[in-house]
């Protein structure tokens, strides 16, 4: 188990290093000069050159990569070209929005999806199953931004129960902060829940066809006991895999929802940084995401071992 963990960590570090090279190289090829972008169309060439010098952009590529990598190892992500504040501070500010949002929608989608999956699987073929899965199918098909706008028009514009968007910051109080995350997390959670419910249902159906379920039934266990004690646990592996993928998506792939609710999250930071050629910010965020995906995958793998004792002895 321990050597397995060490091996996975090594692979993780190598992946990070490879990602750093790819990210740096790719962004270097992208046309566009951050200094010219800052100073605009009327700027004189010497003003642009002076700014390039200030940003350190006139140094050779390799030197810039090495100094960035060196900083990275020491926990320093560099300074944003556009905002001229440390990238680390920018990212932590955004994570304070994106992480609670991701966790809330993940929790919400799990709490909806697993019961729905269990309900439909145990009522397979009945009207309630078809109807629920039909709704879930719609949930998968509806574009999330449209659903988000619908939520805004109902709860913010018409009922005026919740703000239409924005994030007041945690300084404004826990209540105000949470209130502003309610609609976005619903908008994010429901499509995810629909996907997850379908996965849960099909995984459960697979398991329910297994021999040991028949044995359990023959032993005299009730349907409900079988579902909770035997079937669910065995069906969790594909569900966990999808959950892991969803978490990475929810952390940074939520640019559309962040735009609809004008939330200062990671997705918008990276989008803005790309359009402004604030490459050092893009690099910082991408590295953070790569690290997150690696860690989440590791956790998912470890959780397989908890769910399925057979995997523990295999390593």
């Amino acid at each position: 188990m321990l050597s397995y963990f060490a091996k996975r960590t090594m692979i993780g570090i190598l992946t990070l290093l490879a990602a750093s090279i790819i990210v740096f190289a790719v962004l270097e090829v992208v046309p566009g000069d951050p200094a010219r972008l800052m100073l605009g169309m009327n700027a004189t060439d010497d003003a642009v050159r002076a700014l390039q010098e200030q940003m350190g952009l006139n140094q050779p590529l390799l030197l810039r990569y090495l100094s960035w990598l060196g900083g990275l190892l020491g926990g320093d992500l560099g300074r944003s070209y556009t905002y001229s504040v440390p990238v680390f501070d920018l990212i932590t500010e955004r994570v304070a929005v994106s992480l609670p949002l991701a966790l809330a929608s993940l929790a919400m989608s799990t709490l909806i999806a697993i019961p729905v999956g269990m309900f439909t699987a145990s009522n397979r073929g009945k009207l309630s199953d078809t109807a629920t899965m039909g709704i879930a199918q719609i949930g998968v098909a509806i574009p999330s931004f449209w659903f988000a706008l619908l939520l805004v028009y109902v709860f913010a514009v018409t009922l005026r129960l919740l703000p239409a968007g924005g994030f007041p910051g945690w300084n404004a109080g826990l209540g105000a902060g949470l209130k502003s995350l309610i609609l976005p997390s619903i908008a994010l959670a429901l499509p995810q829940a629909a996907i997850l419910a379908r996965i849960t249902r099909s995984a459960l159906l697979d398991v329910l066809g297994e021999d040991y379920i028949r044995t359990a039934r023959a032993k005299g266990l009730s349907k409900r006991q079988i579902l909770y004690r035997h079937a669910l646990r065995n069906a969790l592996i594909p569900v966990l895999t999808i959950l892991g993928l969803q978490f990475a998506f929810l952390l940074a792939g939520t640019i559309i929802i962040e735009n609809v609710f004008y939330l200062p999250g990671l997705g918008r930071l990276v989008f803005q940084a790309i359009t402004q050629r604030d490459l050092i910010v893009v690099e910082g965020v991408v590295m953070l995401l790569v690290a997150t995906v690696i860690i989440v995958n590791l956790l998912v793998d470890l959780s397989y071992a908890i769910v399925d004792p057979r995997l523990r002895s295999q390593q």
């Binding site: 566009g32 100073l39 004189t44 005026r160």
Partner: protein
């Protein structure tokens, strides 16, 4: 059960009233589309910087008023020498920067010298090009000597890029701007909002608002929802033209369509064949129906222009008839230029809606006269790199939003139009040197005619300023003579 229903209902009501209760009248929340990269107007071109700090936090010697006129600001008065080369500014006394340091002639000298310096990263260094030297006469008097007379000098000193900063705080202005204005910087939650608060010790007429919050809302649908939900009370430059009728029909809101300095043009690469041929350029201009364009791309908002000059300017002449919509004439001109069967070309479009939507309409109109323009969407960074810097383009659409920018067609580096007309350059030089009003007007008219006839670009329309705010809000600017949200008189 009953108890729970009651509790739930009262909780809902409490929540409802807390959301609906209007913010105190002395606070205003404004929506802005783009977040500024930083807040130092002397080190960046982004209009979003001036939209927050101009006239609110920072002030210059002069300032541009709501009608585009030059007004005194930190300089209470000035005199000009007879040869037009020396300006002596008398400064206001008892002016303090927001950090408590006092303002004086040394700050003016510092700011102007800093902007002109070789290491300066001022985005509009050209504004200071005429300055020869800046001298301190006494703590409240500054003498600025020019290399040659400049009719635009006082106007130039009113730009956001020419504001006066203090040596003690200049380097920190990007994050914590320290100026002399009626508002001081309060806080900035990156990606979310910027708050400014009333300066209690302002030297001039104090602001009426205690607090103003600029909330960043880039998405047009979100901007609409935020106004409707009452989350923001004003959107000085509202991004979604299609929902404007909805607000016009709603008595809670005031919709104000004003003018801007944004001349929108179809830029042509004047050195690249076939656009080096005047007849081809004229043919393209005659192929475009400005009305269809404004209706289709701008939902009917925008004023047609026939040259590179804002219609609200006193020296404006309407030259749209010089290049009126006439596809037959366009075809004839193309044939005379040797392109009777038309040709293939490209049209590079930056992100704004006016360009993307306008580009599709123009491409369709060009097809009518036989020109196949392939549309290539680009982002700003690519546009600046390919079109602006490397001039690797045939046609492009862009709005030039700086005020008083006729001179971009007279730049020595030929600008991205690659337009090189010595006579026009001479004319612009004359305009800059003349400060007599009527003579200037005459020259301005001449310059407009040269451009209208020479068609270095096809002139399309003037961008509107689409402001929407709560009907109770007063004092916001209707027009945009510069890109700013002067909040000094807002209540």
């Amino acid at each position: 059960m009953k108890f729970w229903k009651l509790a739930l209902a009262s909780a809902a009501i409490a929540w409802l009233s807390s959301t609906v209760s209007l913010a105190a009248k002395t606070a205003l929340v404004l929506g802005i589309v783009l977040e500024p990269p930083h807040l130092d107007p002397t080190a960046g071109a982004a209009a979003a910087i001036d939209e927050i700090v101009y006239a609110n936090i920072f002030e210059g010697l002069t300032r541009i008023g709501p009608k585009g006129d030059v007004l005194p600001a930190l300089a209470e008065s000035w005199t000009k020498s007879d040869d037009g080369k020396v300006y002596t500014f008398k400064l206001h006394r008892d002016v303090k920067f927001h950090d408590g340091t006092s303002f004086g002639a040394d700050d003016v000298k510092f700011s102007l010298d800093r902007a002109r310096d070789g290491k300066s990263t001022n985005a509009q260094k050209g504004l200071f090009a005429a300055i020869d030297k800046v001298e301190i006469v006494d703590p409240l008097t500054v003498k600025v000597s020019l290399k040659q007379p400049s009719g635009d000098f006082l106007y130039n000193m009113g730009w956001g890029d020419a504001v006066i900063v203090a040596p003690e705080s200049a380097e920190l202005n990007k994050q914590t701007p320290i100026g002399t204005g009626p508002f001081r910087f309060d806080s900035w939650a990156k990606g979310s909002q910027i708050v400014i608060a009333k300066n209690p010790v302002y030297w001039g007429t104090p602001a009426l608002l205690d607090k103003a919050t600029f909330r960043v809302i880039p998405d047009p649908a979100a901007a609409t929802a935020a106004l409707l939900a009452g989350d923001v009370q004003a959107f000085p430059v509202f991004p979604s033209y299609e929902t404007i009728p909805q607000f016009q029909a709603d008595p809670r809101f005031k919709v104000v369509i004003g003018t801007t300095e944004g001349e929108t043009v179809l830029g042509m690469n004047n050195k690249k064949p076939p656009f080096d041929n005047l007849k081809v350029r004229q043919a393209i201009a005659h192929a475009i129906d400005r009305k269809t364009l404004i209706d289709g791309a701008m939902f009917g908002l925008g004023t047609p222009i026939g040259s590179f000059f804002p219609p609200h300017h006193p020296s404006y002449v309407d030259l749209t008839s010089e290049t009126n919509y006439d596809p037959q004439l366009a075809k004839k001109l193309l044939a005379e230029a040797g392109h009777a069967d038309g040709f293939k070309t490209t049209l590079k479009l930056p992100p704004p809606t006016y360009a993307r939507r306008g580009g599709e309409i123009i491409a369709a109109e060009l097809r009518e006269i036989g020109i196949e323009a392939e549309i290539i969407p680009v982002e700003w960074a690519q546009w600046l790199d390919q079109v602006f810097k490397n001039r690797d383009y045939d046609l492009t659409i862009v709005s030039h939003t700086e005020p008083n920018d006729l001179n971009i067609f007279a730049r020595d580096d030929d600008y991205y139009f690659n337009y090189d007309n010595l006579a026009f350059k001479e004319l612009v030089k004359q305009i800059d040197a003349v400060s007599d009003g009527s003579k200037r007007t005459e020259l301005y008219k001449q310059a407009q005619k040269v451009l209208a006839n020479d068609v270095p670009a096809a002139f399309l329309f003037q961008l509107p300023k689409t402001g929407i705010w709560d009907a109770k809000v007063e004092g916001l600017w209707e027009n945009g003579p510069i890109q700013a949200n002067d909040l000094t008189a807002v209540k």
